[in-house]
Every structure is written in structure tokens, then in C-alpha cells.
Amino acid sequence: MILLVEDNPNDIALTLRAFKKQQANCDVVVVRDGAEALDYLFCTGDYQGRDLDKMPALVLMDLKLPKIDGLEVIRRIREHNSTRFLPVVVLTTSEENTDLLECYSLGINSYIRKPVDSDNFDQVIRNLSLYWLKFNITPKHF
């Protein structure tokens, strides 16, 4: 399962399309802002009844988010025990160095700039799903 944190509906559509094109057997849960992302991850708010043990294998996250900023979300993820080692890949349009520095210092696992060329974007999604869902191993519950 992949948690996609993205507010742009175009981007959500294109991303979901890319994943679909991969024919990968995985669910993509989409949350539209930072608060929703946190609710989902920590089973609060609308996601109160969600099973806490079911954590996504990867969080794909934009930085510019409504309500709670992407960086804040990452900080909370890394602060919380249950989400400390959750693979977080930032997928954003920014390549500002300050953003890069902040994200890496917060402990993200990867930082990918969204390519304008959709061919490239498809390739990125393909590689991501292959890498994070198939090859990467993360510690289980602790």
C-alpha cells in the first residue's frame, strides 16, 4: 500500500494513472492535505477506526500542502514511534536547496522532483514502485 499525499487533483490523476499503467498489485491511498495524512497514519479523525497495524509501505509526499505543511508532516512521522522508520519519498516540483536540506535533515528516504515531461514521470513511478515495494525492506513492528 502506498500513501500519496497530494493536493493537486491533476497530479493525483496522473500519478494514479502511472501506477495503474505499472499494473502493480498495490493500493494507493490518496490524502489531500497534511492533516488528513496525519489522521490516516495515526488513525485519528476520519480514520479513527483504521487498523493502526496496517501501515503503508511507502509515503509519497508533496511539500506544498494545505492545512499542515509537508515538512511538518514528515517531522511528525519521524517523531512518532510507529512511523519512525516509515519510508518517506518526497515528490515535489521544488528543487530549492533549502527544501532539500530540511527534508533530508528530517530524515526522508528520497527526494524526487516531479519531471515536467510525463514520459519521465511514468518512468519515475515505475522505478519507485519497483524499488520500494519489491526490493526495499523496512523493519516491521517494534
Binding site: N10, D11, L14, K64, T93, E96, K114, V116, S118
Partner: protein
């Protein structure tokens, strides 16, 4: 040394030899007598035996031998013959055998008559011959003749033959020969006596005969006594024998008579002679001494007087004339004394010969018993007339008689007396020294004419007195040097002159040399040498002598050589010494003054002028003329007095002429002007000219004026510049003062300083600077002073309080300064009261400005943030729609492929391409913006390595391209590695891009030096461009190629340029279409 009379000796020698010739002549006559049988020749009288032939031959040979004594070889031959002949005869006598030599030539007919061996020489003769030969041998003995022995042998012969002769005289046959057979003929005996005497006196200056021939008193005495001893016994014994034959006299009586007479006569003679000699010797010695002494003194005096005379010639006329008189007198005295000496020598000679002195004898009744030849001559009374006459009965021409009383006194007392007699004859005063001796029953009187000596003595005494007076008057010391020994005699004055007491020093030439100043000794010695070698008439030299106190005394030494020995070597120099210290001091002082003056004139470059006001003639020194460009002669000739007046500068002429006239008229004591003088070249030269009339006539009219002239043009210039500087400093608006660092009191203040402190200059000078400073005390001033001495200057701010009590903030600059070796501190005051006000204003403005800047900065920062936010949103928000456009276009192309025709697909692809181009453009713009805002962080960058990395990236990205790359290794630069990377990336990208259509793509990176800077370049052989578009090359969004040819946004080179400019470098390009482009850049 034994004195000999060479003339006498030579005469006697000749007589002695002559006697040989005489005897030889007699022998020849006798031989002729035998030859012609003339009996009277053979024998003198018939009663006497003849001279034998052998004897005559012997006498002839011996006579010749004596005569030819100076030809020893002939003499020896003769002597050998004589010895042989007489040896044979002697043998005949001894052996009694007739060897036949006796009558070899002539028969002797007379031998029977006298009873001797016919023809044979008597034994006496034979012996005499042998002895004379021996004597001859001894005279000629080698190597040293035995004169004494030869003379003794001769004397022996003389005595033997004398006996024979006396035998004839006294008619005693036994004495004529040794025996009857050997009777000697009387003329033979006489011949022998002559020969023996000749042999005896042959060398009168040798052996003991010289006792007789000497010229001294002793020789005279010996001669006389010898004569007496020889003659007296003969005469007396003749007398006695005559008495014997005449009357009946007993032998005893005869001997008594003989003895008494002999003793009386001999003793009388002895005493008379002895006394006379003694008296004369004493007198002569005295006179000799006296004359010698006088002579010495005279010579000394003469030399001294001359020396002194020369010294004092100029100043002492009186002394000069006295000296001349002395000199003349001295000459005459010298002449007289020389004559006196000669005369006295003659006198003694005559005395010695007993002939030339007045000498007469008187009996008890004063009757004349002896009257010598000199008496005859001097009195005009002959001996015959005088004899027996009473002395006072005579009326002589010259009364050489002592008074009656004197004579009677001598007679009475029996002691000798002497008296002086003065007689005048032919107007000439004669002086005699008369000595009266008691004699047996009478008196003997000698009168010696010592007129000359007497006169000389009197003259000398006067001279000596005058000389002493002169010497004392001139304060002269005398000295007397014995040249061979170096011994000297110095007068008391000599000692006192040097501060010694007589006898303190060893009087010698060596001592004098030691006392003489070493610098003066060579001159003195040279003077001595020249004089002694006869080149100069006098020794004369100036020299310093060391006084007992150790000081030097200037003296003049002068002297003269007065005695040389027979070889002409100098023996004695006498002279005088004069203290000339006062003269010398004055001379030295004068010399020093002159030198000082000359030096002063020279050093001061003074011209000297001297004008004769009567004829206007001018005399100047070289400097005086040279100063105005003239030679001495020119200057002296062109400037007569009136001419001088014309040379004056028109502005000053009247004033100077007036001053000169006033001085000439005696109204002002000096003439002194600083004026302009016209040089030869016609220019004006500033000179100081001053002078004074130094001589005026009785009416006070000026006669001579002397003065100096000095070039003061430099001084004038300096004076002017000094005035200028003083004016300058006085008029500087800033206050300046000088203080001395030890007392901090004003030594100088300019006008501004006076105004500053509020006091006039005369009130300020001497006041301490601390009185005006409210911040400084002595301690602080001390530390400031030491600061100044360390750094030379010190500037600080303080507050002055002027005399009116007003406070003035000042900035004070103090500097140390040395002037004439005196340390000063110069204070330079800047009034900063206005400046303080300004400063306050500026501070306020500054604060305001800072605030403004802060505000602006804040604003700028805000803008920056906005800009960043803008960039951020550009990066996020502009790209997002593009992505969507592209994504959905692709989705349509994929999902609705069948629904779209080819044209529809082409449109969608164009949309996608545009969106991608737009995305690139946004990225480039962001990059440019980021580069602009980036902070430059320079570090040492290995550019070669960086280029290689970028090339390797490019090769990876564009794997299909084959580009030949050349990178110069080892290039380093100070640069921001991030930015330089972007720049190089862009340039290399371009190179890759524009060589995309070139077959053999070539890209080169390197550097070169140009204008002292390192120029890096990136060169390719790609499409290049036309240089006319080069100006647009680095503008943003400017492209030189169509999009279809080469992709690009036109922002890359703009970014590169911005990076290079940010590094302070420059970038430019050279290119040619289709040939390639080269981008050059520099970095700082």
C-alpha cells in the same frame, strides 16, 4: 816633546860632513907631500913625526866615508878597506911581523929619526880608525841605527886623540903614542880630532848629542857647560904647566891651584848662567802665559764683538762704533803682541847666545867690568871706552842704568833686584826691564827692552775693560771649545743664562748638544761644519737651549775658529751666546699673528684694499679684485679715487660719497657700507666695504686709507630669504610656537599664536606653555615629551585657555626639532572649535543615515524574501500546470490513440514539446536568479579536474556523441566552486551542443597569459557565429541560432557572464561561422 832647532841641526850635520871632506883634503896634501917628498908637508915641524902614508890613506878614506855618510854603500866599501888596512897593521903590532903594508907606496926615511916602525901608522891611529869604522857601522846599523853608541865610540876616539894632542901641547911624549914607536903626528891628531868631532856631531838630533843641539833652555845650558867643561881644564892646566915650567912649583901646589881656580871659575859660570836662565825662564813663562791669555781673550773678544756687532747692528749704533774701535784696537794689539812675541823670541835667542841683550857687569865701586856688544850699540859707548869707567860717569845715548840706590841695595843685600826704566828716544817711549844680580865682588846687570810688551799690556788692559763692559752690556756669555777633545769652557753668564750655577754641568760639546733643541741642532752643526771647513767667517746660529727648569731658551750662538794645528786641523773655537728669547718671542708672536690674520682673511674670503690718497693709487689683494671679476693689476689700474665714485650704484652713490667724504674729513671714525659694486661683467654684486684712514698729515689731511671688501651677495640672498620665511611663518594663520623641552617656555611665537593666546609676542616669550593648557600638568607633559622624542612627533587634542579666560578646543601637533644643536619642540595649533561643531552635526547625520540604511536593508531583505518566495512559487506553481498539460496530453495520446488521426496526434505532441520547453525556461531563469543572489565563497579550485568531471558527465549523458576533448592539466583558480561549475557546465554544454553537427568534434579547455592575467578558454570547432552578433551573445533570452538548429533558452551564457562578473573577471568570445567559437574568461 823635545824641541829641536832644525836649521841648526842641518847646519851641524853639514859641518860634520864637511869635516870629513877637510880631513880628506889634508890627507891628500900629505900624500902629495910623500909623493914629492916635501918634508914640511909630511911633518908640520921637523921636531914632530910625520903623518904616515897609511895613516894619510886611512884619513882620506875615513874622511870620504864621513862625507859620503848619506851614501851607505860607498861608505861601507871605504870602511871595509879602512878596517882591512888597519887590521893588518894591528896584526903587525901584535905579531911583530912586518907584513909589508907600511911602505908599500913610499919609503919612510924619517922613521929612524923618531924611532917608529917605518911607514907604520901609530897604534892610536890604527885604533882610532877601527873605532871610527865601528862608529860608522853603528850609525848605519840595520834595522835601527845605534846613534847613541856610535856617538860614544866617536867620543872615545875624540878623548884618546885629545890626549895625544894635549901631550903635544904639554910636551908629554907618553901621551903622543902608546909607545915610542907609535908616535902620532900632531896634524894627524888634529885630523882625528876633527874626524871624531865630525862623527860625534854627525847626527846632532839623535842620540845624546841632541841634548846639546836642542833649542830649549836646558840645551843652551848644557852647551855652555859642555864648552866650559871642555875648555876650562885645558886652559887652567896649560896655565899650571906654564907655571911649572916658569917657576919652582910643587906638583901639589899646582894641583891645588888648578882645583881652586877650576872650582871657582866653573861654579861662577854655573851660577851666573843658572841665575840668568832661571830668571829669564820665569819671566818668559810669565810673559808667555800673559800673552797667550791676552791673545785668547782678544780673539774671543774679537769674535764675540763681531758676532754681537752683527746681531745688534740695526739697533745699537753706539755699540757698533765701540765695537769698531775695539776691533781696530784689537788688530793693532794683535800686531804688537805678535811683534812682541817675535822680539822676545829673538831676545831670548840673543840671550841664549849671550850677545844681543844689554848685559854689563860692575865691580863693587860700580865700575864697568863687562860691556857687551848690545851695550855698545844701545848706548853708543864702545866696550873699550866703558871698561873701568864708573857707570854714572858715562853719558850714554840710552840710559840703561838702574838708580844708584837700587845698585847699592843689591850690593848691600846680596839679593837680586829688578827695576823698570823708561827712556824716550826720538819721541818714542822705550821701556826696559832691568835686572840686577849680585856677583862676585860686583854686580851683573841685564836690561831687556820690553817696550812692546809694556805697551801691549797697557793697551790690552784697556781693551779688556772695554770688552768686558761690552759683553756685560750685551749680556753675552762666552764659550771656548777645544775642537779635538770637545772640551769647553763656559762663562758664568753662560750658566746663569740657563739657570744653572757655574760648574753644574760638564763643560763639553756633548753637553751642549744634549741641551740643544733637537730641531735646532742640525742647523747649528751645519754652521759649525761650514765654518770649520773654512766656508764661512763665523759660526752663527740660532738655537734653543734647555734651561734647568726644562723650558727652552732661544739663543744666538756665534763664534770663530782661532787656532789650527800645523796640519791645518781646527783646534779651538771661541764664541759668545746671547739670550734672544724676548726677540724670538716677539718674532714668534708676530708670526703667529700674521698667520692668524692670513688665515682669517683667507677663511673670510676678504678682499683687502689700500689706497694712497695723495696720488689715488690703489693696492689690493687678489681676492679683492677677483671678487669683481678683475685681475689684481686691472683692478688697481681702473679704480682711481674719482673712478671709484663712478662705480657706485646710482641709488647709493650719494649716500656713500657723503659717508666717505665725512670720514675723509675726520667727522666719522669709520667708513662702512653695504653696497652694490659693479663687476667687470657689468653686473651688480653686493659687497661689504669698510675702511679707515690710517695716516694723516699734520693738517689732518688723509694720506692713506686701508680697508676690506667682502662678497656679501650670498648673505644678502640669505637675508632676503630669511625675511621671507619669517614673514611666511609670522603670517601663517595657524598658531605656531617653539618651546624648549626642558622648561616648556615659549622661545618663539608667530602672530597667529599671539592672537591665539591673547598676548603680544614680548609678553609670551618666556612664559610656560602649561599656563594655557587646562588638561596638561607637568607629568602629562613629561610623557608627551618622551613620546615626541620616541616618534619625533605627537598629535593630540586638548583645550587651551587664552588670556581672556576663553576655552578653545585645539588639536596640537608637537614635533621635535634641533636647531644649532639645541633641542626644541615645535607646537602647531589647530583650532578645532568649529570642527567640533561640524563633527557633532556629522554624527547626527550619520545616525540618521544608519537608521535609513537599516530600514532600507530591512526592506531589501523583505524584497529578497519576496523574491525567494516568488522563485519558490515559480518553481512549484508554474511547473505544476505544465506537468498537467504534458501528462494529460500524453494520456490522450495513449488512451485515445484510435480516436485520433495523425494531425490530432501531432498537435498533442506540439503541446507536450512546448510544455517541456517552458519547463526548461523556468529552470534556467531560476538558475540565473539563484546565481545572482548567491554569496561568493572563494576557494582554491582545481579547474582542470572540474572540467574533466563535467566532460565525463557529458559523455555519459550523450553516449552517442564522439567528441575529441583536450584539457590542459594543473590549472587552479580562486573561485566559488559551485558557481564556476555552473559556468563551465554551460560553456561545455554549448561546445557539445554546437559541435553536434560537426564531423570531427573537437573541444579544448586551456589557459594563457595575457596582460598579466590568466585567461581561460573553452574552444570548439562547431557551428560558430558571426562576430557582428557578438554583442548580443551574453544577453538573457538572446539566441544566435534558430530553435530548430540548436535547442536552447538563451539564458546559459547570461548565467555564465553573471558568474564570471561576480568573480570580478571578464568574458568574451571569438568565433567564425562554421569554424567554431572560443570563449575566453578571466577570474579574480
Amino acid at each position: 816633546m823635545y824641541k829641536t832647532n832644525s836649521a841648526l841641526i842641518s847646519l851641524i850635520h853639514r859641518f860634520a860632513r864637511g869635516s870629513g871632506l877637510l880631513v880628506a883634503a889634508v890627507a891628500v896634501i900629505v900624500l902629495l907631500g910623500w909623493c914629492f917628498d916635501v918634508d914640511s908637508v909630511k911633518s908640520i915641524l921637523p921636531d914632530y913625526p910625520p903623518m904616515r902614508v897609511n895613516t894619510a890613506i886611512g884619513l882620506l878614506l875615513t874622511g870620504c866615508m864621513l862625507y859620503l855618510v848619506n851614501f851607505p854603500r860607498v861608505g861601507v866599501a871605504l870602511a871595509v878597506v879602512v878596517v882591512l888596512l888597519n887590521g893588518i897593521i894591528l896584526l903587525e903590532y901584535v905579531s911583530g911581523i912586518n907584513l909589508g903594508v907600511d911602505q908599500l907606496l913610499f919609503a919612510d926615511s924619517q922613521a929612524a929619526k923618531f924611532g917608529y916602525y917605518p911607514g907604520r901608522s901609530s897604534v892610536n891611529a890604527v885604533m882610532s880608525f877601527l873605532l871610527l869604522s865601528l862608529s860608522f857601522y853603528l850609525y848605519n846599523r840595520k834595522p835601527v841605527p845605534a846613534y847613541g853608541k856610535a856617538q860614544l865610540v866617536s867620543l872615545l876616539v875624540l878623548l884618546v886623540i885629545f890626549a895625544s894632542l894635549l901631550g903635544y901641547l904639554y910636551r908629554v911624549n907618553g901621551l903622543v903614542g902608546i909607545e915610542k914607536h907609535s908616535q902620532m903626528a900632531p896634524h894627524t891628531a888634529v885630523c882625528f880630532v876633527v874626524l871624531a868631532a865630525g862623527s860625534f856631531f854627525l847626527y846632532p838630533d839623535q842620540g845624546f848629542v841632541r841634548i846639546l843641539t836642542g833649542s830649549g833652555w836646558s840645551a843652551l845650558l848644557v852647551r855652555r857647560l859642555f864648552l866650559a867643561a871642555l875648555m876650562l881644564p885645558i886652559a887652567l892646566s896649560s896655565l899650571v904647566i906654564w907655571f911649572f915650567q916658569l917657576e919652582q912649583f910643587s906638583v901639589e901646589l899646582g894641583f891645588i891651584l888648578f882645583s881652586v881656580c877650576y872650582t871657582f871659575l866653573f861654579t861662577t859660570i854655573l851660577f851666573v848662567y843658572g841665575r840668568e836662565f832661571l830668571a829669564n825662564e820665569t819671566k818668559q813663562q810669565e810673559q808667555q802665559l800673559k800673552i797667550e791669555q791676552l791673545n785668547k781673550d782678544l780673539s774671543a773678544a774679537n769674535a764675540a764683538t763681531r758676532a754681537v756687532n752683527e746681531e745688534l747692528l740695526a739697533s745699537n749704533d753706539a755699540l757698533q762704533s765701540a765695537n769698531e774701535r775695539l776691533y781696530r784696537a784689537n788688530q793693532s794689539v794683535k800686531e804688537l803682541s805678535r811683534q812682541a812675541l817675535q822680539e822676545s823670541a829673538q831676545q831670548y835667542k840673543h840671550l841664549a847666545d849671550s850677545v844681543e841683550d844689554v848685559f854689563y857687569a860692575l865691580d863693587e865701586k860700580l865700575r864697568i867690568t863687562f860691556w857687551n856688544k848690545v851695550c855698545e850699540e844701545s848706548t853708543g859707548i864702545s866696550s873699550n871706552q866703558a871698561m873701568g869707567q864708573h857707570l854714572f860717569a858715562l853719558k850714554p845715548r840710552l840710559r840703561l842704568f838702574p838708580s844708584l840706590e837700587v845698585l847699592q841695595e843689591v850690593l848691600k843685600s846680596g839679593t837680586a833686584a829688578q827695576t823698570e826704566i823708561e827712556e824716550e828716544i826720538a819721541g818714542k817711549q822705550l821701556h826696559f826691564n832691568v835686572r840686577i844680580y849680585p856677583a862676585h865682588r860686583g854686580l851683573v846687570v841685564f836690561a831687556v827692552d820690553n817696550t812692546a810688551v809694556h805697551t801691549a799690556e797697557r793697551e790690552l788692559k784697556q781693551q779688556k775693560e772695554r770688552l768686558e763692559l761690552a759683553l756685560n752690556g750685551a749680556q753675552l756669555a762666552t764659550w771656548d771649545l777645544d775642537v779635538p777633545s770637545g772640551k769647553s769652557l763656559w762663562s758664568n753668564r753662560w750658566y746663569s743664562m740657563l739657570g744653572y750655577t757655574a760648574g753644574d754641568l760638564e763643560e763639553s760639546f756633548e753637553t751642549w748638544k744634549n741641551l740643544t733643541h733637537p730641531d735646532d741642532l742640525p742647523v747649528a752643526m751645519k754652521s759649525f761644519e761650514e765654518h770649520l771647513s773654512g766656508k764661512t767667517d763665523y759660526v752663527t746660529f740660532e738655537h734653543r737651549l734647555k734651561k734647568k727648569t726644562g723650558d727652552w731658551l732661544w739663543t744666538t750662538g756665534s763664534g770663530k775658529l782661532v787656532e789650527r794645528n800645523h796640519k791645518g786641523e781646527p783646534q779651538r773655537v771661541i764664541g759668545v751666546l746671547q739670550d734672544i728669547s724676548s726677540l724670538k718671542n716677539a718674532e714668534q708672536e708676530l708670526l703667529e699673528q700674521k698667520e692668524r690674520l692670513e688665515l682669517a682673511l683667507w677663511a673670510a674670503e676678504l678682499g683687502i684694499w689700500d689706497r694712497d690718497l695723495q696720488n689715488g693709487r690703489l693696492t689690493v689683494n687678489e681676492r679683492c679684485a677677483q671678487m669683481l671679476g678683475y685681475t689684481k693689476a686691472e683692478y688697481e689700474n681702473i679704480l682711481p679715487l674719482q673712478g671709484f665714485r663712478k662705480t657706485l650704484h646710482p641709488d647709493e652713490a650719494a649716500q656713500i660719497t657723503e659717508m666717505l667724504d665725512k670720514h675723509l674729513a675726520g667727522e666719522i671714525p669709520y667708513y662702512r657700507t653695504e653696497r652694490r659694486a659693479r663687476t667687470k661683467a657689468g653686473e651688480w654684486l653686493w659687497v661689504l666695504n669698510s675702511g679707515k684712514v690710517v695716516k694723516r698729515d699734520k693738517e689732518g689731511r688723509p694720506i692713506r686709507m686701508i680697508g676690506i671688501q667682502q662678497d656679501i651677495s650670498d648673505f644678502k640672498k640669505t637675508e632676503a630669504s630669511l625675511r621671507f620665511y619669517k614673514y611666511l611663518i609670522d603670517n601663517i594663520k595657524n598658531p605656531i610656537y617653539w618651546i624648549t623641552p626642558d622648561d616648556l617656555k615659549f622661545k618663539y611665537v608667530n602672530k597667529a599664536a599671539c592672537d591665539h593666546f591673547g598676548l603680544p609676542e614680548d609678553k609670551l616669550i618666556g612664559v610656560g606653555v602649561l599656563d594655557f593648557d587646562i588638561n596638561l600638568d607637568l607629568e602629562k607633559a613629561g610623557s608627551i615629551t618622551s613620546e615626541i622624542s620616541r616618534n619625533g612627533t605627537h598629535t593630540f587634542k586638548t583645550v587651551h585657555k587664552n588670556s581672556a579666560g576663553q576655552l578653545i578646543p585645539v588639536e596640537l601637533t608637537l614635533s621635535s626639532l634641533y636647531y644649532n644643536d639645541t633641542p626644541y619642540v615645535v607646537g602647531y595649533i589647530r583650532n578645532i572649535s568649529e570642527q567640533s561643531a561640524y563633527e557633532a552635526k556629522i554624527r547626527a547625520i550619520n545616525t540618521e543615515l544608519e537608521q535609513k540604511v537599516a530600514a532600507r536593508t530591512a526592506a531589501l531583505e523583505a524584497t529578497n524574501k519576496e523574491l525567494e518566495a516568488f522563485s519558490y512559487s515559480v518553481s512549484h506553481d508554474l511547473r505544476a500546470p505544465l506537468r498537467s498539460i504534458d501528462g494529460f496530453s500524453k494520456a490522450i495520446l495513449e488512451d485515445y490513440e484510435s480516436a485520433l488521426d495523425e494531425e490530432g496526434k501531432d498537435f498533442l505532441n506540439r503541446i507536450r514539446s512546448s510544455t517541456q520547453q517552458m519547463g526548461q525556461l523556468i529552470d534556467d531563469l531560476l538558475n540565473l536568479s539563484r546565481v545572482s543572489r548567491a554569496e561568493l565563497k572563494k576557494q582554491n579550485v582545481d579547474i582542470s579536474k572540474l572540467v574533466l568531471e563535467l566532460v565525463s558527465e557529458l559523455n555519459q549523458q550523450q553516449a552517442g556523441r564522439e567528441v575529441h576533448v583536450k584539457v590542459q592539466p594543473g590549472l587552479y583558480a580562486q573561485a566559488d566552486v559551485r558557481l564556476i561549475r555552473i559556468a563551465l557546465e554551460n560553456l561545455l554544454n554549448n561546445a557539445w551542443k554546437y559541435t553536434g553537427k560537426t564531423e570531427l568534434a573537437r573541444v579544448e579547455f586551456g589557459s594563457m597569459e595575457s596582460g598579466g592575467r590568466t585567461v581561460y578558454f573553452v574552444k570548439d570547432n562547431g557551428a560558430g557565429f558571426d562576430m557582428k552578433y557578438a554583442a548580443r551573445l551574453f544577453g538573457a533570452f538572446q539566441r544566435l541560432h534558430r530553435e530548430t538548429e540548436f535547442e536552447g533558452t538563451g539564458v546559459g551564457l547570461a548565467t555564465v557572464q553573471r558568474i564570471i562578473h561576480k568573480h570580478g573577471g571578464q568574458i568574451w568570445a571569438e568565433a567564425e561561422p562554421a569554424k567554431g567559437a572560443t570563449f575566453y574568461f578571466t577570474l579574480f
